[in-house]
């Protein structure tokens, strides 16, 4: 049976590469039984989204000139 420390390794890993079927399954099983690890998984997810906060045009930033937007989402700069 997988323990919490190993579960956190998979929680981290799944944000960097896709897990194998076996890894996914054992992580799901562990999360189903462990509230602390479910919290940890959410914390890792929050950390994973922290970068968007610095992106200037992400939500909550001043004016987003979308007037005249033809619904054509041209990709932002390279």
């Amino acid at each position: 049976m997988m323990m919490c420390k190993e579960a956190t390794r998979l929680m981290s890993l799944k944000r960097d590469r896709s897990l194998t079927f076996q890894e996914r399954l054992s992580l799901r099983l562990h999360l189903a039984m462990c509230g602390a690890c479910r919290n940890c998984d959410r914390q890792f997810e929050l950390l994973h989204r922290v970068g968007h906060h610095y992106e200037p045009t992400s939500e909550g930033d001043g004016e987003r000139d979308e007037e005249n937007g033809d619904g054509d989402p041209d990709s932002p700069g390279r």
């Binding site: 323990m3 919490c4 420390k5 190993e6 956190t8 390794r9 981290s12 890993l13 944000r15 960097d16 590469r17 602390a36 690890c37 919290n39 940890c40 959410r42 914390q43 890792f44 997810e45 929050l46 950390l47 994973h48 989204r49 922290v50 970068g51 906060h53 610095y54 992106e55 200037p56 045009t57 930033d61 001043g62 987003r64 000139d65 979308e66 005249n68 937007g69 041209d74 932002p76 700069g77 390279r78």
Partner: protein
Amino acid sequence: MTSTSTDDDRHRRLAAVRPRLVAFARLHLRDAAQAEDAVQEALVAAIEKQDAFAGRSGYETWVFGILKYKILDAMRTQKRHGKWQPLDEEMEDEAIDRQFQRNGRWLESARPGNWGEPEAAFENERFWQVFDACMIGLPDNLARVFSLRELMGLSTDDICHEVGIKENNCWVMLHRARLRLRACIERGWLEESA
């Protein structure tokens, strides 16, 4: 006339976004002066090249993209000067061992709590203060890999090329960085606001 007002508008927008650019560069370079330099260079490049910017919206995003290149350049320079070391995986990380019992279960004192909705955390100024402090507290190598992955959004494959490590080493570092950050944030943020 039109072009002047566009210039004014852009200068105003650059000034407005500058603090955020500096904060971002600082997290990567971990050096206030180098962060200022990188932002300065990015702003100069943005002003000089603004004819190359075609879009009507997303000007800040475009500038941000320029800054990312400047940061990567500065990081390469840091690395050439030996300011960055890969992780010795054999070495135990005691900051992480302090979170778990021997059998791999959470220690009671380190069990992750509920942080609530991410959006609420991100709205909370205190969260960002704690996050910054915790990033500063990370060892350099962990902070670098974490910031490239989660702030810059590079894939671990790209990070390997950038810093010259094996992908597995990168995954181990990210795991350690995330565990340290979560513990640090939980201590600094939840306990004080409770």
